[in-house]
Symmetry: C2
Subunit: 311 residues, 2 copies
């Protein structure tokens, strides 16, 4: 049986895993991400760790290849343009470079959000669907488009990077990206905190969210407890997320949206708030799209990375 190595590179650690062709994770391990010296050790460290592990397990000749998810825009050829969290400033072909370090092994590289989307498509919440859009609701909003079973990387590797589509051109507060009115200013975990604070300031109403740390988790816990102010925030969040998804549906007409990231941990309670506004604003021909919660958590990246080379 063939195996693939899946690699998910983050700013502090690299998750690695051996995955078989059925999508079963046989083994996982981690190594630190050494970002010093412009991150020049990161790929060599990964290569060494992969070689050591597959030799140890005696499966070197059964490994078909290595797939790697990277925190930056990666195009179809594996070229990455800058990865701030890895201290990579140059544009280079990460797939080719890792392949050389692995003695010519087949290597595919992708953007981490795209790769996680492929994982959810293969073995997670997207597995019974066709074209899919994954939306990762964390500090920001990440995303990945799966079309005909493959990652839609786009021209510069920014396909599905939906966090910075402009929903409100009149917004005065700047996004980290330099623009203003970005999707992630409203519908991310950060957006939830912002909307909650606005609501707390605008009303004198009692709420479980007063005099406590405002987080996305606290918001959904309060919604579950029937807190009226929290429910108003959930409506506003649902409006922004539902409206944003409606726009994406109008462009790429997916069969399913898979919601992942920290905010999605609240579970199905968020779906009706999103669905209501999605249905209101989506063009009828695209309105049948399902909206579901991701199921793989942190394994999505490993699995998607492995899938890139198993295809």
């Amino acid at each position: 049986m063939g195996y693939a190595v899946g690699v998910d590179v983050g700013g502090t650690s690299v998750k690695l895993g051996i995955v078989n062709a059925d999508g079963e994770i046989v083994e996982t391990w981690e190594i630190p991400t050494r970002t010093e010296d412009e991150g020049k050790n990161i790929l060599p460290d990964i290569a060494q760790s992969v070689k050591d592990r597959i030799r140890e397990k005696g499966i070197s000749s059964d490994v078909i290849g290595t797939g790697i998810g990277l925190p930056g825009p990666v195009d179809d050829d594996g070229v990455i343009r800058k990865a701030v969290n890895l201290h990579w400033e140059r544009t280079f072909n990460a797939a080719e470079e890792l392949s050389e370090l692995l003695g010519g092994m087949k290597v595919r590289a992708g953007n981490d959000a795209d790769v996680a989307a492929l994982g959810e498509y293969w073995k997670g919440a997207g597995r019974d669907f066709g074209d899919m859009v994954m939306v990762t609701l964390g500090t920001g909003i990440g995303g990945g488009i799966i079309h005909h079973g493959k990652i839609y990387a786009g021209t510069t590797g920014a396909g599905g990077e939906i966090g910075h589509i402009c929903l409100d051109p009149n917004e005065k507060i700047r996004c980290n990206c330099g623009n203003a009115g970005c999707f992630e200013q409203y519908a991310s975990a950060t957006g939830i905190v912002r909307l909650t604070k606005e609501e707390l300031e605008a009303s004198g109403e009692d709420s479980l969210l007063r005099n406590t740390e405002v987080t996305a988790k606290a918001l959904w816990d309060a919604v579950r407890d029937g807190d009226r102010l929290a429910i108003r925030v959930a409506e506003r969040f649902g409006f922004y997320l539902g409206w944003g998804l409606s726009i994406i549906a109008g462009v790429v007409n997916p069969e399913v949206f898979v919601l992942g990231g920290g905010v999605s941990k609240a579970g199905d309670i968020i779906i009706p708030y999103v669905r209501k506004y999605f249905d209101e604003h989506t063009f009828h021909a695209c309105r049948d799209a399902q909206i579901v919660i991701a199921t793989l958590g942190n394994s999505a990246g490993l699995l998607g990375a492995a899938k890139m080379v198993l295809d």
Copy 2:
């Protein structure tokens, strides 16, 4: 040399053409679109006309297949879901049905806007680019996405149907689609007329656009003549089109936008108005996309239809 037949079906006439593998149109002709009896004669009429013509020309054995663009959502398999202008109410596989009528000939079907996009990609304004989005600015806004050289049809054939993405969820005036705030309510020919009338009513200023029929053409002619009110309308149109394209860029990250349809006949004068707001609202990783004017006019549909079977 192999030939393909390209067919572009409209509500009143069907344009047909014989195209060689180099994309040269060898011959074109038209037949009426018989929409009576729920349009049941349309495909048989086309099949008969194609058979007659290629027999006449003695090229029956050189024809690789027939591609057909249809005014409705068509998925990858050639299934069309309703085509109002053809009086087609049923969902059926138009490619299979036309193929049977043509004695088993290879047939591919696509949405007309998608097919025109493929034509521009093959032989028109998109020919030197990779991933492309065509935006057809007519009475409404149509669109087509070309990804890796192929039409991106989407789950229900509505991929790239960007005219109904919601730009303003607070809009009170309804769009024909039943929603409100749709892209095409602002940035189509109809949108230009609306924006012009709003500007004429809001100001008492002299303008070439007063006491004359307001059309998209009249607007751009007035802009060319330096009419200040017209220039303000052009700015507002540019804002809506540029903002809308910025959102699409953030989803699918194309290398080029090709603007077609009636409004695009004004030519390059519209580009700076659009570019200004596109640059302002587009995520930096997607901002390098070019914005150009379509070059093929009515031939785009024929060529794109032919290209579907030549691939």
